[in-house]
Structures are given as C-alpha cells and as structure tokens.
C-alpha cells in the first residue's frame, strides 16, 4: 500500500515536501491511523501527527485524506484510492507534518461562550428537562472538536478570525437550543453582524466531512430562524 504524506519541520525544512511510504501486509479493514502508526514505528519515527483514542471519540487525528478532511482512526484504508495522499487539515498554520496550530479554532469555540448559563438560583436537585426538550440537543452535543468541518469551509479559510466557523456555531446552537439555558437573547445578539454567523454561505462542506455525522449547516439555519422570529 502506497502513501504520499506531507512533511514539514520548521527546524530543518525551508518548505514543505511530500514523502512516499509503502507498507506491505496491510489487512483488509485496517484503519488509516493504524497504518500511520506502523509507518512511525517501523520506518520513520520523525513522522508527526496527533492521535489518542483510536475510535473517533477524542477528535485528535483530523487530517486531509485524499483531498477530504476526516479522522484517520475511523477511515478504512479499503475505501481509499492509492497512493493515499495525506496532508494536514487546511487553512490553519502547520506546526509540523500533520500537526496544525488549532488556537484560532479554539478561540472561536470559546467566543460563543460554550457553557450553560443559569441565572436563577439552582435547585438542590436536577433542573428538569423533558425528553423532547433534551432531544433538541441530539446532533449538537456530540461534537468532538476535531476541526474537520471548520477547516473544510471556504468562509473560514478567508476569515478565520471573523467568521466563527461551523464547529463554533454548532456549539452556539447547542446552548441556544438547551431549554435550561437563560442566555438565549444575549447569545443571539452576539451572533449578529455580517461575519460571525452570516458568512455561512451554505456550501455544506462541513456536513460532508463531519466524522460524527453532524450537520452544522442545519444548526446554523436553526439559529438564523430564531434570529428572524426574534426580530419580528
């Protein structure tokens, strides 16, 4: 099995280059992460990438695989055309090889105040929420912050500091939809203006790449609807 992998080490390389690797005896059903780990262990310790849980829950190993963003640990090699071309997630600075600097992404996440706000005194037990109210959070709370969506979004590439991006907006929606949250008005107000939310042009790349099957475009649409009905 053949791989072409983006390499860059700022200490030694003037510019990035592509390195070829080859693995034999790759069993069917092997995930890309397992192949990368084998390359690192058997051939080249300097190949650098993030990884942890190996089952698509921690969100560490987002990368661009044959032109599409995805998590290496849940991408089966069987599904990939050879040679497999692997690059870092696009649109954010590269630290080394497949490792990007995610600070801008995290900054936008923090910007939506991604935490429950309750102003009333808390009861001594749980806040009540019906199963129907809770169901509104399905498809929103499962995000693993892998950045596959935001780094596939042209609007985010062009304005990563002004457009919040699909991941942060999905998170905004997660709190706007939460029946327990008491910051509804403020949350909508904060998203006004031409950039933060409205730079989404429903290109839908985010939906196509999300490894958790989430739909940020739909979430953004829900926020827009709420803004409209609020202004009426």
């Amino acid at each position: 099995m053949k791989f072409k992998i983006y390499r860059y080490n700022p200490e030694t390389d003037k510019k990035p280059y592509v390195q070829d690797y080859e693995l034999d005896k790759v069993e069917p059903g092997t995930m890309l992460l397992a192949a990368l780990l084998r390359i690192k262990d058997e051939q080249d310790q300097t190949l650098s990438f993030r990884r942890s849980c190996g089952e698509g829950v921690c969100g560490s190993d987002g990368m661009n695989i044959n032109g599409t963003n995805g998590l290496a640990c849940v991408t089966s090699l069987d599904s990939l055309k050879q040679p497999v071309e692997i690059r870092p997630l696009p649109g954010l600075p590269v630290i080394r090889d497949l490792i990007i600097d995610m600070e801008q992404f995290y900054k936008q996440y923090r910007a939506v105040k991604p935490y429950l706000v309750v102003n009333d005194p808390m009861p001594e037990v749980e806040l009540l929420q019906t199963p129907e109210q809770r169901e509104k959070l399905d498809g929103l709370y499962e995000c693993v912050l892998c950045a596959c969506c935001s780094t596939s979004c042209p609007s985010f590439w062009w304005n990563p500091d002004k457009f919040l991006g699909p991941a942060a907006l999905l998170q905004a929606s997660r709190f706007i939809e939460d029946s327990r949250d008491q910051d509804f008005e403020k949350r909508l107000e904060d998203l006004e203006g031409p950039f933060k939310l409205f730079r989404c042009h429903t290109i839908m790349n985010c939906v196509n790449v999300c490894p958790k099957g989430l739909n940020p475009t739909k979430a953004i649409g829900r926020i827009k609807n709420k803004m409209v009905s609020r202004s009426l």
Partner: protein
C-alpha cells in the same frame, strides 16, 4: 524554534498544579478556580482529548429516579464488588456524595438523557442491587452511551468560564521535591517547541488516568500510559493494589473497542457457540449483570472449554438485536456506530463478537479519602506526603478494591477530584508560601529531558520495547494467572526494564517531537508493568479481578490487605480500612451474583 531552548529555564508559580485534564483534573481545577486560587492544568493533550471522553455507560448515584434506591445500598454493592478490598470510609463518602456530584454536573450543563418526568435517566448496570443484594437497581445516570464525552466537554466548558489556566500539550516529566519528600511542583516541557518550564506549586494534584497501554489489547486510548503513576514511583511513592487490573467483558474481540456494559443494562445478553445464554450458569440471579470480573472469567472459561464462537472459537457473542432499532438508536447510538465502523456489523441486526479486554487500573497512587497521597512511615501505614494529591484512575483511594463496578469510575473521578480540591483549599490556608526548589533537583530532570537532544547510541527502540512489554503483559498477567506464568512474566519484564538504558530515538527536533513524548511514556509504562506483575506474582489468593488458578479461593486471613510496590522496597502491605465513617462495617462474605 531551538532558540527557546538556549534560554534559561522558565519558572512559573501557581497555588496548585494539576497534572492531567480528564474529568478528575477538570473537576478539581474548577473547584479551585472558583475559590479564587491560581491553578495550572498541565495536559499532554488538549483537555477534551483526555480519555474520560470515551466513557460510555454512565455514572452511579442513588437518585432513585427510576425505582427505590439509597446510597447505603450503593455502598454495599461497591464493597461487595470490590471483593472486600475496598476501603469502606472512602466508599461511604463516595456513595453519599454521588447524588450531589451528579446534580452539580447537571447544573454545569451535562446533557443527561431524561425520563418522561424530566428527571435524569438511570439505567441498570452490573453488580447493582436494591436492599443489600436484592433486586436489580437502576442507578447509572447516562447521557445516551456518551456520558464521558458529555461530562468532559461540560467540565472543560465550565473551566473556560472560570478562566482556568491551561498548559495544553505540555508533558510533565517528574515531580520536584524538597529534602523531606514534600512535593513542590513539577518539571514539564512544552511539546510544541521543546522548551522546559519549572512549575512551582504549593500543592500538586496528579490526575493522569490509567495505564491500559501496558496490555496489547485494550479499550484504553494510546495516551493512557500511567504517567502519573510512573512519576509517583520515581518520587519514591509506592503503587497500591496494582495486581487488580480490570478486564472488561465486552471489548470487540481482537480489536479492543469498548462496548458499554449499558448494552447489557438495556437488555442485551451473551451467548456462546451453542447459542446458549451462558451467564445463567455462572450467575443465576444477576446473569449478564453480574460484576465485571465474574462475567470476564465466564467468557474466558467458555472459550477455554471449546464453546467459543467464530472459526477460531475465540470469542462469544453479545446479542442486542432483540432490543429493536429504536431502543438501540436512542440509548446506544455510539456503540452502534463503532460496530458499523469497525466490524461492518449493525447490532440492531446481528450480534457483536466480544472478549474480555484490558480496561481499568483499580490500583494506583495510594490516597486517603481527601485525595492526599499517603505512604507508610515507620509504624504509620498512611502518612500524607506534604503538598501531593492524586485523584481518579491514577489514584487508589481505594473505592474499587479488587474489582470496580461499572458506573463507579466517572463517579470516582468527580467525587474525589472535588474532594481533593476542597482539601487543597484548606491546606493552602495553612501553607501560605512557596518553598525554594533546589537547583540540583531541577537539573536532574533537565538532564533527563536533554538526553534526547542528541542522537543516542543505544540500539533499542521505543516501539520495539513497548510492543514486547504489551505482549508479555497480555500473556503473563491476564484474566487467569498462576505461579509459573507470573514468574516468567516477572523475569521478562525485569529484563525489558534493563534494556531501557539502551533506548534511543531518531528524532532530535524540538518542534512537536512525539517520539520523545513516547520515550517518556514508555518509561512510565515500564514502571507500571513492573509494579503490576510483581504485585500479581506475590498475591497467592483469588480476589476480584486477580484470579489465580493455583490459589482459587479468597483468603481473608492472609490477604485482606493492600499491596504496596515501590522501586526502593519491593512489596509491602497495609491493612484495609474496614471502618466506614458513620455506618456499620460490611464484613467479608462469599460473593455470589
């Protein structure tokens, strides 16, 4: 980038240093940040990548939202589940505090699943009963089968609100100590650029999680390398009860991905090659919801006796399809996706091949119920180490004893992360000033980090030694053990540890050098493996997850005591704290489910 390494070593001062940003670390940091203390959280990965994120089934608390329940029943189940090795003061504290810990999480925003009346959904889990061993209890609070994800993200979010200071992608190498063993902080390096920082702290909390990577097949993430346990051992602190390692009954066979016990809690069950519902023979009453050690042994026996499934007869099947697609999608969406991704099997249509898989470190850094790290000093078995705390899977408080109940792990990290923080707040009032850290102590660790700046001459590789270690532990320290297998295992691990001095790496960069991180992780894995196999070899009885085929019975007279293993003294023992805080002690009884 290498410029920064020529600069003098930076020193930062905080009231508290927390190493690890999983549920335990983040619960503690939140408590401390809200008490207006300065807290540094050092994590080798971005916080939401920590392994708490992978916890599925839920968190136990006697809320009685589904049926009658109370904390005392929960305490009984936990003591029994521990095979009477758990410390009953800590267990009482945990079970009493559990409801409060869950309500707090709910207030932090955790999206728990809900019952029709709006209260938190609770499901049945293994080893839980009403009325001290009666009917099955439903005590496990769940957010579908993504409870760990929901909790970790909510805690991180609350820490954003509280403005906790994070050192993301920094690796803690070693604790820094004063002359009397007191802990004064730690030396860490920035993975991003290789720069070294000394973090001076009046209190240090280790919350680095478990060490499942000592085994070949494991549900654990690659980051679960027992870093805090290794650090503690190098600081002269023994590890407690390391022979008690939990094998989860339902890892995906051969692959290791976890299938939550909640799958059986929702009504799933195990079948052997004959299609027989096998657990009825091993646990007539609790059946598939017996304790994990019991179910894991049952599966291993079925396979050993030729009733395994598949062409190699090397696993059994977990059947869920009778639950119907709706229940599976609503309550178990995560494991459904995992099965489809890794097996091409939809559990709504076909059974899942499963086998016991390394899952949880019951042992760890010994602490009392306030999270203080305690060591034997002369005649005192549990003397606090000044300035040092531990909580969660890296710690041994010990609420799990010989076998942890499902749903008690998330509970442990939250209750004792919080308890440790509360004790730290008091401790800091009495200990107002930072102590000077000796240059010699710092330089020793700096040299260790710098060792990898130049190419080494040793012929051993990280991957080579690590793969051997995992293979040896898998073969010699698994579900069933005996003297011969363990003796060989001890020899093999000792020889591997010897070879560590010939370790070198091919990557000398300062920039995001993951080869260097893996070398330090291997040092920690080796320490944990040594402690585990030595402790297992010495314990000549069967208790909880430690099953000896040559000593098949529990021996309360000789062995109802905690093991302690240290580099300096080898094995030592201390008594179990059998006296609870306010209720009567649960005396040891035969353990049947």
């Amino acid at each position: 980038m290498s410029e920064s390494n020529r600069q003098p070593i930076e020193r930062r001062q905080f009231d508290t240093l927390i190493i690890g940003a999983g549920g335990g670390g983040l619960r503690a940091s939140l408590q401390l940040a809200e008490a207006d203390l300065s807290v540094a959280v050092v994590s080798k990965v971005f916080p939401t990548r920590s392994h708490t994120v992978a916890a599925q089934g839920g968190m136990n608390a006697a809320l009685a939202n589904v049926g009658p329940d109370n904390w005392h029943w929960h305490m009984f189940d936990t003591v029994k589940g521990s095979d009477y090795l758990g410390d009953q003061d800590a267990i009482e504290y945990m079970c009493r505090t559990a409801p409060k810990a869950v309500y707090e999480l709910e207030h932090f925003g955790v999206p728990f699943s809900r019952l029709d009346n709006g209260k938190i959904y609770q499901r049945a889990f293994g080893g839980q009963s009403q009325n001290f061993g009666g009917d099955q209890a439903a005590r496990t609070c769940a957010a579908a089968d993504r409870t760990g994800h929901a909790i970790l993200h909510s805690l991180y979010q609350q820490n954003i609100r509280a403005k906790t200071h994070f050192f993301d992608e920094y690796f803690a190498v070693d604790l820094l100590q004063g002359d009397e063993g007191q802990v004064l902080g730690a030396l860490v390096f920035n993975i991003n650029d290789g720069s070294i920082i000394v973090i001076e702290a009046r209190t240090t909390l280790i919350a680095t999680g478990g060490a499942g990577q000592i085994f070949k097949t494991t549900t654990n993430a690659l980051i679960n390398t027992g870093d805090g346990m290794g650090m503690a051992m190098r600081a002269g602190i023994p590890l407690q009860d390391m022979e008690f390692y939990q094998f989860h009954p339902t890892g995906i066979a051969g692959r290791g991905m976890l299938i939550t016990e909640g799958a059986r809690g929702e009504g799933g069950y195990l079948v052997n090659a004959d299609g027989e519902r096998m657990m009825e023979r091993y646990a007539p009453k609790a059946k598939d919801l017996a304790s994990r050690d019991v179910v894991s042994r049952a599966i291993a026996i079925e396979v050993r006796e030729g009733r395994g499934c598949g062409p190699k007869k090397d696993h059994v099947m977990l059947k869920l399809d009778h639950l119907g697609e709706e229940v599976i999608q609503k309550r178990l969406p995560g494991i459904r996706q995992t099965c489809i991704t890794f097996l091409g099997i939809d559990p709504a249509e076909a059974p899942i091949p499963v086998f016991p898989t390394a899952h949880y470190t019951m042992g760890g850094i010994p602490t009392n119920r306030h999270g203080q790290v305690v060591v034997p000093v002369k005649d005192t078995p549990e003397e606090p180490v000044a300035g040092l705390y531990a909580a969660g899977e890296c710690a041994c408080v010990s609420v799990h004893g010989g076998n942890r109940l499902g749903g008690n792990s998330l509970l442990d990290i939250l209750v004792f992360g919080r308890a440790a923080a509360n004790h730290i707040i008091e401790y800091l009032k009495e200990n107002k000033y930072h102590q000077q850290i000796d240059d010699a102590a710092i330089n020793k660790v700096v040299d260790k980090v710098r060792r990898y700046d130049k190419p080494g001459t040793g012929k051993e590789t990280v991957a080579g030694l690590r793969d051997e270690l995992k293979q040896v532990m898998e073969e010699h320290c698994s579900v069933f053990r005996n003297k011969e297998i363990l003796n060989q295992g001890v020899d093999k691990i000792e020889r591997l540890a010897e070879r560590m001095k010939d370790l070198s790496i091919d990557d000398q960069s300062y920039t995001f050098n993951t080869a260097k991180v893996e070398a330090f992780e291997l040092e920690n894995l080796m320490a944990v493996a040594l402690a585990t196999i030595h402790s297992a070899n010495a314990r000549e009885e069967s208790r909880g997850a430690h099953s000896r085929t040559d000593f098949t019975e529990r021996d309360d007279i000789a062995w109802m005591r905690h093991s302690l293993y240290s580099f300096e003294n080898g094995l030592d023992y201390k008594p179990v704290r059998t006296k609870p805080i306010s209720v009567e002690s649960f005396p040891p009884k035969p353990r049947v489910y």
